[in-house]
């Protein structure tokens, strides 16, 4: 899955609950040598656009602060120039910097917006599920890092059987949070790229990450030459953990992730192209579904009262998928190799997965999220 640039993650505040795409009227702020005019602003929650005129004699850096944290900023506004800054703000009290450090800071009050669309939940209601989801993501990325380190160690020790056993175990933590993990496109490409993405396929020098190691372990039955790929994978996993710690997950990304994970299953898991050497596809398949269900479970209270049919149908389809997958479970908690499934078995998975993809694609809209 490719995704938005990491730059988009600079959004530190939550874009909750704005139902209107209408661009808001810009709010004018003039910065002089003495400070901001006006020195106090009030805007509704959601998206605001600030038009900052630099009437001071110095190059201006205008910032919105919450405590010591910079929420948004516009740098290098030349004297005499006007620049716009678009910010999506949660209700609360903020400060604005106003030119020279010695100038008094202005105040910015963000009021809770009136619900603009009847029937969409209060944006504040998303705060709890978002916090819980962040914890889930943190837990998964922690486990992912730990299991990847063990997998890498096994490869470097040349213990093929152990490495093979650890491969699906490490991957499932990544697959559960893939919509978030793949926000970091560079790391996703490096860790989870498949040979198909290269013109020279497996022979391409750019082919690295999990699937390169998978190929070595299963197709070549050897750890020869895998050490550099293993080292790089661990370095990527470490970097992912670092970046996710600093990440605030936008609510639309969380809600959209429920559908995104099912789309992953529909596009690449059912075909059995994901883990073609190890045939551990069902581990990834299951992890995608688990990650989707986690999001659905967290958001369910917000839609249950409004659309009980949707909730009931979605739960039923998750259960259908679980029941189908249960047929392929092994005693050690894993799954049978994917080539164990006939074409008919694979087709049987398509039905509920497609219905889930259709239903979950409406989740964002039902929550009033853009």
């Amino acid at each position: 899955m490719t995704a938005r640039r990491p730059a988009a993650l600079a959004i530190l505040l939550l874009a909750a609950g704005r139902a209107s795409a209408q661009a808001p009227e810009p709010v004018a702020v003039t910065v002089t040598d003495k400070g901001c005019e006006p020195a106090a602003l009030t805007v509704p929650a959601g998206k605001s656009v600030f038009r900052i005129s630099n009437k001071s004699r110095r190059v201006l850096e205008w910032e919105i602060l919450q405590g010591t944290m910079i929420v948004e900023e516009r740098e290098n506004i030349i004297p005499g120039f006007v620049q716009s800054l678009s910010a999506t703000l949660q209700p609360g009290s903020y400060e604005m910097t106003c030119g020279l450090l010695s100038n008094p800071k202005g105040t910015l009050t963000v009021t809770a917006a009136a619900a603009t669309t009847a029937g969409t939940p209060d944006p504040m209601a998303l705060v709890g599920p978002l916090a819980a989801y962040k914890l889930y993501v943190m837990g998964e990325v922690e486990a992912f890092h730990r299991q990847t380190a063990a997998f890498v160690a096994a490869i470097k020790a040349g213990t093929i059987a152990e490495a093979k056993a650890l491969y699906p175990v490490a991957r499932r933590h990544y697959e559960r949070i893939e919509p978030v993990a793949s926000l970091f496109n560079d790391l996703d490409k490096s860790m989870d790229v498949r040979a198909d993405d290269f013109e020279k396929k497996e022979a391409d020098p750019g082919f690295t990450g999990f699937h390169r190691l998978e190929k070595g372990l299963w197709a070549d039955n050897s750890t020869n030459g895998l050490a550099p790929h293993a080292d790089r994978l661990l370095a990527d996993a470490t970097e992912l953990k670092r970046r996710i710690a600093d990440l605030t997950i936008p609510p639309a990304k969380m809600a959209g992730g429920a559908a995104g994970l099912i789309e992953e299953v529909a596009a690449t898991k059912i075909s059995g192209e994901e883990d073609r050497y190890s045939r551990t596809d069902l581990w990834d398949f299951h992890a995608n579904v688990e990650g989707s269900r986690k999001i659905f479970d967290l958001l369910r209270p917000l839609v249950a009262a409004r659309d009980p049919d949707f909730v009931a149908r979605t739960e039923k389809n998750f259960s259908r998928v679980d029941a189908l997958l249960a047929k392929y479970r092994t005693e050690d908690g894993g799954f049978k190799p994917y080539d164990h499934l006939s074409d008919r078995d694979r087709n049987a998975l398509k039905g509920p997965i497609t219905v889930l993809a259709e239903d979950l694609s409406t989740l964002r809209g039902k929550l009033g999220l853009d």
């Binding site: 899955m1 490719t2 995704a3 938005r4 640039r5 988009a8 795409a21 661009a23 808001p24 998206k47 656009v49 620049q83 716009s84 800054l85 678009s86 496109n185 490409k189 198909d196 993405d197 290269f198 013109e199 020279k200 396929k201 559908a259 789309e263 529909a266 596009a267 690449t268 898991k269 059912i270 075909s271 059995g272 192209e273 087709n347 398509k350 993809a357 259709e358 694609s361 964002r364 809209g365 853009d370």
Partner: protein, 428 residues
């Protein structure tokens, strides 16, 4: 273009063909058909695009409804055989685009023509365009020194998932016509006439809705994501613009460089860099994406095709008044592709894409998308610059380039008797 630029009636054509003077029956060869009015008698089968001219047809020619691109590997054993191939291709292109009777042969022999258009080959607005790939300039034909400066195997961009079986080629033939069968007929004709000289490498057919094509200029086709595609394309009737952005000029040099080695080879004047990209669209997933997100990803309204915040499809997006991307996100497709600044004016390209639909993926999803084709006088300043701006765009979640290549569309054949690639082979 669906309209016929010549007033010749169908009956007169057939008379002409029967008299063995097919090409002459159509009168002079000039200009584009864009301004011609449709003849009530015409069903489009007599529409004819002139073959001869300073540039090949099929580049600034208005797009008809059907296209076929096919990449070939050349099997010719030496330069002489390569010249023979180019002569044969030229001959066939002249015949196929003009139309004419199929010569009868002894029925104990295989027929001269596939027959899929009947005993009279109708031009049907066919254009046939020959381009060469970088691999033709390897050591086989002594053309190493004659390669257009920017020509190289297609770059791999970050979102690409290129299938080597759908990439590159020594030659690329592009057939465009009113109907798909005319293109297939042309391809089969060419294969029949070039045994031992070429091997098929990959092929893809494309389509546009005929009723929209008929209203070209007043209506815009939609891509398979449901968005109008081509609203802001270059105006092919603007000769100065084509001169600047599409056609390689004699002795073209890099902007700001007077270095002799930065010049395009002399033979290349009048040609154009052609980029072909097979871009799969994840249509099931797209169809399950909220409308507003789709519109933010493209930067246009889906129904009207107007830029976000506008109602008229042809309204110019005003990015200067939207520096923070409030109205049109900074990473919207149309904003990245053409930011409409002075600095990016050099990256304007002439797009000539088609939609394709090819079957089903191993996952049981539809394999359809865009057969992207564009032309430009400078590959790097054109397509490559645009694609580099697009890298990482949100649309990438829904599209996957899987094939294509960089090619050089040869200059046109000015006079009967000449052949495509003559300057290249004689001059090098």
């Amino acid at each position: 273009m669906a309209s016929c630029p010549f007033s010749t009636s169908r009956r007169a054509l057939l008379r002409g063909l029967a008299a063995g003077t097919g090409a002459a029956a159509f009168g002079s060869t000039q200009g584009r058909a864009a301004d011609a009015t449709p003849s009530a008698a015409s069903d489009g089968t007599l529409d004819r695009q002139p073959f001869h001219g300073p540039h090949q047809a099929g580049i600034v020619t208005p797009q008809p409804a059907a296209a076929l691109v096919v990449a070939l590997d050349v099997l010719a054993e030496d330069r002489g055989e390569l010249a023979k191939l180019f002569r044969i291709l030229t001959e066939r292109f002249v015949f196929l685009t003009a139309g004419g009777p199929v010569p009868p042969l002894d029925p104990r022999l295989p027929p001269a023509d596939s027959g899929i258009l009947g005993p009279q080959v109708l031009p049907d607005n066919l254009t046939a365009t020959l381009s060469v790939g970088a691999s033709l300039f390897d050591d086989r034909y002594g053309l190493e020194g004659a390669k257009p400066r920017r020509l190289r195997p297609m770059d791999r961009f970050p979102n690409d998932s290129l299938d080597g079986k759908l990439c590159h080629g020594d030659l690329l033939l592009q057939f465009c016509a009113n109907t798909a069968e005319t293109n297939l007929h042309a391809l089969r004709d060419v294969i029949r006439h070039t045994p031992g000289l070429v091997a098929l490498r990959w092929k893809l057919e494309g389509m546009l809705p005929p009723h929209v094509v008929k209203r070209q200029g007043q209506d815009t086709v939609r891509n398979f994501l449901g968005f109008k595609d081509g609203t802001a394309n270059l105006d092919t009737r603007d000769d100065a613009l084509m001169h600047r952005q599409v056609w390689v000029q004699p002795g073209s040099t890099e902007p700001g460089s007077g270095e002799p080695d930065s010049r395009e080879p002399t033979w290349a004047a009048g040609g154009s860099y052609q980029v072909v990209r097979i871009i799969r669209n994840f249509v099931e997933r797209w169809d399950r994406t909220p409308l507003r997100e789709q519109e933010q990803i493209f930067g246009r309204h889906k129904d009207s095709g107007a830029p976000l915040g506008e109602t008229d499809e042809h309204a110019l997006p005003d990015y200067a008044s939207d520096p923070a991307g409030t109205r049109t996100p900074m990473d919207a497709h149309i904003r990245l592709a053409n930011p409409r600044t002075k600095e990016t004016a050099s990256s304007l390209i002439l797009r000539r894409g088609y939609n394709y639909s090819a079957g089903i993926t191993p996952s049981g999803q539809l394999d359809m998308g865009l057969l992207f084709v564009c032309y430009q006088s400078d590959l790097d300043a054109g397509f490559v610059a645009v694609q580099n701006r697009l890298n990482g765009e949100p649309l990438e979640e829904y599209i996957k380039p899987v094939g294509g290549g960089y090619f050089y569309a040869l200059p046109g054949v000015k006079e009967p008797g000449g052949f495509l690639g003559q300057g290249l082979l004689v001059g090098a």
